[in-house]
């Protein structure tokens, strides 16, 4: 998609301004049912497009992402453009700086069409905790786009953004990518700067691309993974992912861990087995590995994530930004009222759980124990990667949920993250790749998990899979921008 747009702009088949106008036009038709965008930045996009056209006209060289219309999850700060995290708590908030990833893409000439819907503060798995209501699945509007980066996946899947950036704390890039038939890359912790990403759980959060195909994910990853002084945990990438897409894969080993298949739908399991056959045909050896330590990954994840969230969300007090409650007697009441009116139900639940597991008397039993178990999960993966180059697993045990189904029982919804959270706990990279459709016609994703900083190899494996299956698992959804028409 990105290379094709680059080719069209380079061959002067279309100007960037015309291309952006096409996208804005389609957004106008489609965003009402989809609810993918929560804030359109049309004027800003048109200005950016004009600048790109000037650059192209001057004969200057321009990069692959230059002039490409895209979107950002609404927790990625955009200078002077409203960034709400889809929470009432940040209504009207206009950051005074750009997130490092967006600053980089903006300087490269990417065109921001608008900010994308998400679960409030990235807390949710269906996008439905958003204060704007959930984003719909472009393959079937009765189903959710997934979460928390649901708006990005909905927009890219529907063809009303060429690519987007989401964030993944416990699966929030991979799960919606899987639900919407797209590629979603969660990079290694520390590969991509979190500067300007509104913090949910700082030891787990990571920004990454949601794209049509592995090549686009590699292009965007190469652009956004750089060492950034603004984030002391960020060291950047080890090598270019695009440069390694065509590497030989014959002789590599893919591991399968039975622990990932314990509660998986039969359709999903069948399609993952089909994918293994595709890899065997490439000369890849499939080996069994064991990951008993991931049995506790889900509660470990929720304990650590909520503990960090309860601390990170302490900053919302109505003093420096965001709305403030009206009626209060003193500062304590002002902060309590502001937070109680601003945060939604799921955010409050997680703050309370986080406060609970960090409170004296419970700290050792929950938070400390979870951190120790985190250590054993990391060790488990280290041992597994002694036997294989990557692990193949389902991204989600099921396909997309029906609208409204995820909000009924919080714990049941948490359990759908069972396959995605281990990667965040261990700080590993993983990419979700479409591998077929279930009996309802909804997309199924598989994830390739690798050792730290193995993004290039994971994307190479994903790219080879797409080539051998002739990308037949990408289904074009009618209505969006069709590059064939240009």
């Amino acid at each position: 998609m990105i290379s094709r747009i680059h080719g069209l702009l380079k061959a002067r088949k279309i100007s960037c301004l015309e291309l952006v106008a096409k996208y804005l036009n389609k957004i106008e038709n489609l965003n009402n049912p989809l609810n993918a965008y929560v804030n359109l930045t049309a004027d800003f996009a048109i200005e950016s497009a004009k600048n790109v056209d000037k650059k192209i006209a001057s004969g200057e060289d321009f990069g692959l992402v230059c002039g490409v219309p895209m979107t950002l999850k609404d927790n990625i700060s955009t200078k002077d453009l409203e960034t709400t995290c889809c929470s009432r708590m940040l209504k009207g908030y206009r950051p005074i700086y750009d997130a490092s990833v967006w600053e980089r893409l903006r300087l490269c000439g990417s065109v921001l069409l608008g900010k994308a819907n998400m679960d409030e503060f990235a807390m949710g798995s269906s996008c439905e905790t958003s204060c704007f209501g959930g984003a719909k699945n472009p393959h079937n509007h009765d189903y959710v786009a997934g979460g928390s980066s649901g708006g990005v996946a909905s927009a890219v899947g529907a063809g009303i953004a060429a690519f987007g950036l989401g964030s993944d704390t416990g699966g929030s890039i991979r799960q919606p990518a899987s639900f919407c038939g797209l590629v979603g890359l969660k990079p290694t912790y520390g590969a991509v700067s979190r500067h300007g990403l509104v913090a949910y759980a700082s030891s787990l959060d990571q920004i990454g691309p949601i794209t049509v195909g592995a090549r686009d994910a590699a292009i965007v990853y190469d652009e956004i993974a750089f060492k950034d002084e603004q984030d002391s945990t960020c060291v950047g990438k080890k090598c270019s992912a695009v440069a390694h897409l065509d590497d030989e894969v014959c002789g590599l080993k893919i591991g399968i861990a039975s622990q990932y298949f314990e509660s998986v739908d039969s359709d999903v399991e069948r399609l993952i087995n089909d994918a293994l056959e595709v890899y065997r045909r490439m000369g890849i050896e499939i080996v069994e590995v064991s990951l008993p330590s991931i049995a506790h990954a889900l509660p470990v994840y929720y304990i650590i994530a909520c503990a960090e969230a309860s601390s990170n969300l302490g900053r919302y007090d109505g003093i420096r930004y965001g709305p403030r409650a009206w009626e209060y007697e003193d500062i304590h009441e002002m902060i309590c009222k502001t937070r109680s009116q601003g945060f939604g139900e799921e955010v409050k639940r997680r703050i309370l759980l986080g406060t609970y597991v960090l409170s004296s008397g419970y700290y050792d039993a929950y938070y400390k124990k979870a951190q120790l178990l985190r250590g054993s999960i990391i060790e488990g993966f280290d041992r597994a990667f002694e036997k294989c180059d990557a692990i193949l697993a389902p991204t989600v045990p099921t396909t997309a949920f029906k609208n409204g189904a995820a909000t009924l029982d919080p714990v049941k919804t948490y359990q759908t993250d069972v396959c995605t959270v281990p990667v965040n706990i261990a700080g590993l990279p993983a990419v979700s790749v479409p591998c077929g459709f279930d009996s309802k016609g909804l997309p199924v994703g598989m994830q390739l998990i690798g050792p730290k900083f193995s993004e290039a190899r994971l994307l190479c494996l994903a790219y080879h899979f797409e080539r051998l299956t002739e990308r037949c698992f990408f289904k074009h959804v009618d209505g969006g921008v069709d590059l064939d028409e240009i």
């Binding site: 009207g92 206009r94 005074i96 700086y97 030891s203 002084e229 603004q230 002391s232 945990t233 506790h296 889900l298 509660p299 470990v300 929720y302 304990i303 007090d317 109505g318 003093i319 420096r320 930004y321 709305p323 403030r324 009206w326 009626e327 209060y328 007697e329 003193d330 500062i331 304590h332 002002m334 902060i335 309590c336 009222k337 937070r339 109680s340 945060f343 409050k348 639940r349 703050i351 309370l352 759980l353 406060t355 609970y356 597991v357 409170s359 039993a365 929950y366 400390k368 124990k369 979870a370 951190q371 120790l372 178990l373 985190r374 250590g375 990391i378 029982d409 919080p410 714990v411 948490y414």
Partner: protein
């Protein structure tokens, strides 16, 4: 098990108000979630050095002034500002 008093105390610590009509539902939710978190009780782990779990290393940089923001920028998103400070009225509009 979380008691109603414990829940209200937690909410106070987290600077949240819980209305009477929400308290029962929240109590039921919290109970389920804590039950779910209790799954880790049965897991056995060796008592390795707590801080070494994630092999953390400090990252240092030279102590030089880099990017910073003007007072005007910092105050841009505040509801009420006076003389370059965040202003808080000691009583909201009633």
């Amino acid at each position: 098990m979380v008691s109603k008093e414990e829940l209200i105390n937690l909410a106070t610590l987290a600077k949240l108000e819980i209305s009477d009509q929400d308290v029962d539902k929240l109590l039921a939710d919290m109970e389920k979630i804590i039950d779910f978190a209790n799954q880790i009780n049965s897991a056995s782990v060796s008592e390795v050095e707590f801080d070494s779990v994630n092999n953390l290393q400090n990252v240092y940089r030279e102590d030089v002034v880099s990017r910073s923001y003007s007072q005007e920028d910092i105050l841009k998103n505040a509801k009420t500002v006076e003389d370059g400070f965040f202003r808080l009225d000691n009583r909201g509009q009633v």
